[in-house]
Symmetry: C2
Subunit: 297 residues, 2 copies
Amino acid sequence: MAWIADAGLAAAVSNAGGLGIIAAGNASPERVAGEVRKAKAQTDKPFGVNIMLMSPYAAEVAELVVAEGVEVVTTGAGSPAKYMGAWTEAGIKVIPVVASTGHAKLVQRSGATAVIAEGGESGGHVGELTTMALVPQVVDAVDVPVLAAGGIGDGRGLAAALMLGAVGVQLGTRFLVAKECGVHQNYKDRVLAANDIDTVVTGKRRGHPARSLKTPFTRRYLEKENDLAISDAELDALALGAGALRRAAVDGDIETGCFMAGQIAGLIKKEQTVQEIIEGLMSEAEGLLREASEWLS
Amino acid sequence: MAWIADAGLAAAVSNAGGLGIIAAGNASPERVAGEVRKAKAQTDKPFGVNIMLMSPYAAEVAELVVAEGVEVVTTGAGSPAKYMGAWTEAGIKVIPVVASTGHAKLVQRSGATAVIAEGGESGGHVGELTTMALVPQVVDAVDVPVLAAGGIGDGRGLAAALMLGAVGVQLGTRFLVAKECGVHQNYKDRVLAANDIDTVVTGKRRGHPARSLKTPFTRRYLEKENDLAISDAELDALALGAGALRRAAVDGDIETGCFMAGQIAGLIKKEQTVQEIIEGLMSEAEGLLREASEWLS
């Protein structure tokens, strides 16, 4: 959620009873520190920072969260092992995103507080395993609490994740269309208009697969990715790091932007406030679980 | 489940309260008719036949199920539209496997009784969408009942599927290790030993992606699939139709067989009777739903 999950969205989620997360992405430490301070000004509830471990600034952001007294860190796109000592010593709750049982066991050994088991139906960087297959296997593999992510867009997904053994869920795509999400309106409109088959994974050839909406950008990238006459360097020049995420989120550039979103985009049909989204999810999930207990009795 | 879901397994599932399915795969009409008659001798409960629409015998098997008075037909690997009229006229309940909302709406228009929304974490032929993302979107798209398949291996998966809006589930991989499943012991042992990351999808280049356990066969196939110097004809000679499924299921040939299985294989740790599997799933799912209603009250 680089360029998307900023202080405003994170604070709104925390104020509504969730745990808001600021996505550091590839942002500079100064920029991340600025977002952390803005979030502190907008909420007195805990919030977190997601550190994208492939970022050139990962090490500096890892220090910054300690200095700023951030309460929760989530990590993506790699192993956070080398930072875990400093974070846990500072009392930070560390919740790595994992895509396999092996990765979950590894971060548990390094001192993770919990893990987010994220299926490959999610938006952004993806693994091979799906939420349905991954979550119960991670629950069986580790002793720390497991949150589920990937493919969860409403109360049905939340209730399903709880049945799989998760203690909670992480949502990305659904919050893209929150009123408090400052992403360009074109991005929101694309998510709202998406159907079930409107996402695609690019970047497999370079070992960094990521899911986004089908756009001119993904079409061009895939053509070049599948063309072995195109060098890896040429492919990288086109790639996500090269401003395509900013062009989607900030400029709403349908032609050259990369609009990351999960397969659940097809389910998401309205822009709502964060509070409406969270309350809707909770009441729908509760209703489904109560209804189920009625069939059983 | 070609070469796997035979009369013995299907009758055992129906006798235990499920709906057993005989997989026609690429088998000849004579062979399928033989299995149907064997199943009738082994159960007085309804059972079904799965017709793999890419089979060279699909049209003949489509007639045979009418002639034999089979009560339920499921279909995979394509659109059953051209057979739907004859089947529904004969009173057969038709439940196509679908991998997108578009496909679900299409088969509903053709007269499907229900649909099986199958996520790409399943074994065998796979689509792009995952169970978690697909099932609620299909539930919203059609008026017929939706069953969930893909990534379901225990009561957690069953309860999760019900929360997503499914009225029931289809299991493949879990029944591979049923005592009544006549597959070679090497196949069962490979499923029981699998971990979460032990499956892989082959066949994307030829437009027929299928998931199976990582074996020397899949390694060789993937090498050739990724090598553009290898012709499509050469690739097809290696492919699934060419006996690799039989070599896995019947001969247990670890070297040249193709051992289809879903991502949930990593969860499956014991061989049990069909009755034990079904009762275990039901009681686990019921327990989870009751427990959830207790937190809520």
